[in-house]
């Protein structure tokens, strides 16, 4: 209230209103004298919320110092800051543990401002305090459960990694030796036995591939945030991937072109895996008799500092009800005439999400698909 009316009765009314507001406030309000040295600053006023919070009555508090609220767990360093801030005439804001009259602890968040006279000199301190014990405890509980979840998740990941790693060897032994037996002794088996044995070989290879892919999946997003990441040229990475895909490109007559390509903040290996998965899917799920046409470009995303890639194809497309499902581990929409275990999109999603970004698809069956993903980066001016 900077302009108090000259009319004495209006001034009275305003005072009454302010008093009522202070008395009914939920936050504790304390006014003290300016002197900081002990026994100061003496308390001159407390509101009812102060009593509710501290259990000290108005009579017990007046004339005492707010230090009566402090105890062994009160943050002494913070009190040092408080003193420094007040001496330099600054506003103070902090949080610490204080003690009620009965010795019980509570967490208080408080701010202190100087009250100034007309000449601009500080004449009193005004402290507003709030008991935030419940909030702080809830935050602590949330943090603890977050940490616990993270630990459990890490253990689980480690378990999957170790399990898939250790399974590789026995599965390879079965796969290799069953093929060996098939080579050498096939003629000794009746036709039905040969058929059974072909299933054994097929099964062993398939388990082997699943385990290898699972291993790759658990490894995919490791190291994503461990070291600072530099900008890399996404066009270069794309070119490497296209070169790697050369056999299937020439086999299918695919044409891969690119528009603007940004600099992105990502590990090269991760971007390579994403392109590799999206492009090989675009080639694999082509329409019969239609050579794949794939176009990759990027644009600035709504989020500042973020770019959005789009990988567009003219393939068979994906029905809307599967747009989420395709990102699941070992999810496949098609029969075995399409190779693969169904891990590629799961790996892609895992990598993208570990960077805190998103991947999604827009597609109409028969009319191709466009896979989008976002990443931290910038469109180059020379692009």
């Amino acid at each position: 209230m900077t302009h108090i009316d000259d009319d004495p009765s209006r001034e009275e009314e305003t005072k009454r209103l302010l008093q009522a507001a202070i008395e009914s406030a939920n936050d504790a309000i304390i006014i003290t004298e300016l002197e900081l040295e002990s026994p100061g600053p003496r308390i001159e006023y407390v509101n009812p919320a102060f009593t509710r919070m501290t259990l000290y009555t108005e009579t017990e508090a007046i004339g005492k110092t707010p230090r009566i609220l402090q105890g062994p767990k009160t943050d002494q360093k913070l009190l040092g800051h408080l003193r420094r801030d007040l001496l330099t005439g600054e506003f103070f804001h902090g949080q610490t543990i204080n003690y009620r009259k009965d010795g019980t602890e509570y967490v208080v968040e408080w701010r202190i401002t100087p009250v100034k006279n007309n000449a601009g000199q500080a004449v009193k301190w005004l402290a507003v305090q709030r008991d935030v014990t419940d909030r702080v405890r809830a935050e602590e509980a949330l943090r603890a459960s977050e940490n616990h979840l993270r630990d459990v998740n890490r253990d689980l990941e480690q378990f999957v990694y170790s399990a898939s790693h250790d399974l590789q060897e026995p599965i390879r032994n079965v796969a290799i030796h069953s093929q060996m037996i098939d080579r050498k002794y096939r003629q000794l088996l009746p036709p039905e036995g040969q058929e059974h044995f072909a299933f054994v070989i097929e099964g062993a290879k398939r388990v082997g591939n699943l385990v290898q892919d699972l291993l790759e999946y658990t490894r995919a997003s490791k190291f994503a945030h461990e070291e600072p990441i530099d900008f890399i040229d996404s066009r270069k990475v794309l070119n490497t991937v296209i070169a790697d895909l050369e056999p299937s490109v020439s086999e299918t007559g695919a044409e891969i072109t690119a528009g603007q390509m940004p600099l992105v903040r990502m590990r090269e290996l991760h971007l390579r895996q994403i392109f590799q998965n999206l492009l090989s899917n675009a080639i694999k799920y082509r329409r019969k008799g239609v050579p794949p046409r794939i176009y990759i470009d990027a644009a600035v995303d709504r989020q500042p500092g973020t770019v959005r890639f789009a990988v567009r194809d003219n393939g068979i497309g994906i029905p809307a009800e599967y747009h989420q499902e395709i990102f699941g581990v070992f999810r496949r929409l098609h029969d075995r005439s399409y190779e693969g275990t169904g891990i590629g999109l799961a790996i892609t999603q895992r990598i993208v999400e570990r960077y805190g970004e998103k991947v999604w698809v827009e597609s109409i069956p028969g009319d191709g698909s466009t896979f989008f993903f976002t990443t931290s980066g910038s469109m180059r001016s020379d692009a």
Partner: protein, 140 residues
């Protein structure tokens, strides 16, 4: 190629060691093999080679990376600082991890990933042949 190759195989999976030998034999390479099954034994082999330099050196090391007691990385490091440093290494592993590939590339260009397919695994024989003939050409 030498008349008789001496190949040291460091491999804890007997099946893989067997496939490797079969593949090398099928290439018509005459070789005698020493197989050690853990990292400790491999390090001991290197120590003995350092102590007794009269002992004939192997012509090739075929090394699995994931071994009990001591990693393939440790073995390659020791190998490279021993009198055996000129003996080529072929890494044969189930690992496709970029870290393993990068680590191995510091010691050898020959990295073979163990496949699930028998014919593809047998290709290790061809790789061994080409490494052995390259080494002979290089030292000739």
């Amino acid at each position: 190629m030498p008349d008789m190759a001496r190949i040291l195989i460091v491999e804890d999976n007997p099946s893989d060691a067997w496939v490797i030998r079969t593949a090398v034999d099928q290439e018509g390479i005459s070789a005698e093999y020493e197989v050690v099954v853990n990292g400790e034994q491999a390090l001991q082999f290197i120590r003995q080679a350092s102590e007794n330099q009269e002992r004939p050196k192997p012509t090739l090391l075929i090394l699995d990376l994931n071994l009990p007691r001591c990693s393939g990385h440790d073995i390659m490091r020791e190998w490279h600082t021993s009198p055996l440093s000129t003996v080529p290494i072929v890494v044969v592993t189930s690992s496709d991890s970029p870290r393993d590939r990068e680590m191995a590339s510091g010691y050898t260009p020959y990295y073979f990933r163990k496949p699930l397919d028998f014919d593809k695994f047998m290709a290790i024989g061809g790789l061994v042949r080409s490494v052995l003939s390259r080494e002979v050409t290089a030292s000739a």
